[in-house]
Subunit: 412 residues, 2 copies
């Protein structure tokens, strides 16, 4: 089995607030093709240390992936230092330079800034990996039996570059073992409850391996299997996954890592039902999540964010007397919001949320974290009261998740 090292380059990654997420994604990609990540290094814009790290890495590992440091500024040292570590020349590639110039022109910038010519420097013997999503091309070379890829730091540039250029090259080098992974997502059950239900099943298996993770508002079940082919590994996962899904029933909502909004969106698209959303404390988060899915305009008709009482009445027709008697955060108002948005937008479903996201605005009666969600269709309206622990961000996120889950369960 091939061994790999990942080197993340950039002083910003050494701060106390920034995590390197590229290496998690890359690890997953490498694992799938049967390459084992043995070491990760995070190094700043520091010539001497980076040189030493690269020298060590190519000596002891068969695959070395670097991310970051390919930009046009003085800080971007990766090309220069890797060339030096490998004892190879670095020279300007006119063709690459012209491509970068062309990219600037396509954005209406006739004169490429001079410093971007730095990005056209190529290490001797390296192939240039095109980057349609940014100005920094990547580099790939094989050096004394070690495959080395230099990729940009921004995930939206790095990921397509790996997928389109690096993966196939590594697959050729990798051996026969293939891995498969899958993430199942669960809603409406706690971590211990999930483990109690499924431990009797998954503990019988060494392959796949099962890990249960708690991720903000969802439980994730990670399965990882290996086999001679990807199909073998997938078949092992299918087998265990089916048993787990059966045990969890409707609480398992995602079987291939889909998000809640993708699952709900797919069900709406399939059934050709339409939806309108009225939000108070979630402030547009539900609409934003639903519309983040391509094609959502087929079923998502409109959303309103009614932050004031006046808006609730004017845009949704919520009865002023209800707000006065029960307060804006109440089951009565949530239900009226759901009915109102559905009626006015003439959709099949109306989904509504009202609550106290905090940190201010809580009272003894209606503390931070109190949220009502409601769902209306032509026949009836249901609601649910939630008490969500956590800060503003978490309250909003979990409220949006619970509301979407309510709709998902109705659509089943």
């Amino acid at each position: 089995m091939l061994t790999a090292e990942i080197i993340a380059i950039g002083s910003e990654l050494l701060g106390s607030s920034r995590t390197d997420t590229n290496s998690l994604w890359l690890t997953d990609q490498l694992n799938r093709i049967g390459i084992d990540v043995k070491l990760k290094t995070i190094v700043g814009d520091d010539d001497a240390r980076l040189e030493e790290v690269v020298k060590d890495a190519v000596k002891r590992s068969r695959v070395v992936m670097t991310t970051g440091g390919l930009g046009p500024t003085e800080d971007d040292i990766t090309r220069k230092v890797v060339a030096r570590a490998l004892g190879k020349r670095l020279s300007l590639d006119e063709k690459v330079l012209e491509e970068i110039r062309e990219r600037f022109r396509s954005f209406g910038i006739a004169n490429m800034p001079e410093r971007n010519s730095r990005q056209a420097m190529v290490i001797a013997g390296a192939e240039v990996l095109s980057n349609p999503n940014g100005s920094a091309p990547g580099l790939y070379l094989e050096h004394e039996g070690c495959a080395v890829a230099l990729m940009p730091g921004p995930p939206r540039e790095m990921k397509p570059m790996f997928e389109n250029h690096v993966r196939a090259r590594l697959e050729k080098l990798a051996g026969d073992t293939r891995f498969a992974t899958r993430v199942l997502r669960v809603s409406g059950l706690g971590e211990s409850a999930v483990d109690e239900k499924i431990a009797p099943i998954y503990t019988k298996y060494e392959n796949p391996q099962t890990t249960i993770l708690f991720n903000s508002s969802e439980i994730e079940i990670h399965l990882k299997a290996h086999g001679r082919t990807e199909a073998d590994a997938e078949a092992l996962i299918d087998d265990l996954s089916l048993k787990i899904e059966k045990e969890l029933g409707n609480s398992a909502f995602s079987f291939r890592g889909e998000t809640m909004e993708e699952v709900v969106g797919r069900r709406l698209a399939m059934t050709e039902f339409t939806l309108a959303v009225a939000e108070s404390c979630t402030g547009g988060l539900i609409a934003q999540r639903l519309t983040s899915v391509p094609g959502s305009s087929k079923y998502f008709i409109e959303g309103v964010v009614t932050y004031s009482n006046e808006s609730k009445t004017r845009l949704l027709g919520v009865d002023k007397k209800l707000i006065k008697e029960f307060g804006a955060v109440s089951q009565q108002v949530a239900r009226d919001m759901a009915r109102g948005v559905r009626h006015r937008a003439k959709t099949d479903f109306g989904l509504a949320v009202t609550g106290v996201a905090g940190p201010g605005g809580g009272t003894e009666d209606k503390p931070v974290g109190l949220v009502y969600i409601a769902l209306a269709d032509s026949a009836h309206t249901e609601h649910k009261k939630l008490t969500i622990p956590g800060d503003r961000e978490l309250v909003r996120w979990r409220a949006s998740q619970a509301a979407l889950d309510m709709l998902r369960r109705r659509l089943i």
Copy 2:
């Protein structure tokens, strides 16, 4: 200024779903006492690699912190391998062994499992750091001018050990150097343009250090300074930061790491202006960002997500003829949306976005990434046409950022 490396040990940290959070916390702690973290390594339970990493680290850095690998199992290799890397003997310390035994007894376990005796092995010359929160004691030693601390992996054991035993020892070594950091954010200028403007300023300084980062739709300028006291370091940052701000003018919108929505929110709160938002392609993202800020209900009155033409007319009063003549994605409709939402919500400002987020829905005339933003107040309405490269997520994010930036500039 002392330099440090952090080594996180444990194969579980090399998976695709787990991040090492200890090192973020440790970096912050070290930075505060004036120690600069230059490198982070994550290594599995792998003798050869760990030995090489430790040997390199103690050669090039004055402080080396390891976390993890101090448990009682075969996988817990840290003591053994670090002793070997430093060329020092490892031997059983009877006093430590008795303390571990005593800990087990205090939990009602008369016979300590034999394997836990491994945790009483001490590197020659090391001080033992007690661990009231677990069975693994830490070790601290100075080796050829390098301070080495071996700490357990679980944060609830590592953090108190650092605070109670390691910090004071490092403070003695660190002397008087203290650090300060700051993040400036820029909108409306590209990375190269920012660098060209401010490189003549910041390259004159070795202290503070300046790093320019491109973060999805914003440029970030990270400043880091050191001085004899925290106030000295802050003063150095103030000085450079003012010069950079002056050069960038209104393009610099955030000086202490605040987000765009926080900056806009603060200006709205200060001026007591109110806002309503009408969104099409951003689908609630602008409302969601604005309302993520605590206290936003003071100025954010309402938002509407008008995904259908019918919604644009019914909720915003957009003239049907305009939609028919110019299309929903047009400057005319954007302007009408901004005016309409402002008028109906009776706010000071109305902000609107309409565009093609993709991946579908683009035409030759109106390609994916074409976005119109508009801002209306009582006196007039302005608009801007954007052509945003990237995928759906990025188009939506940048459109929301440009719209918020338009409002920010108006509020100045």
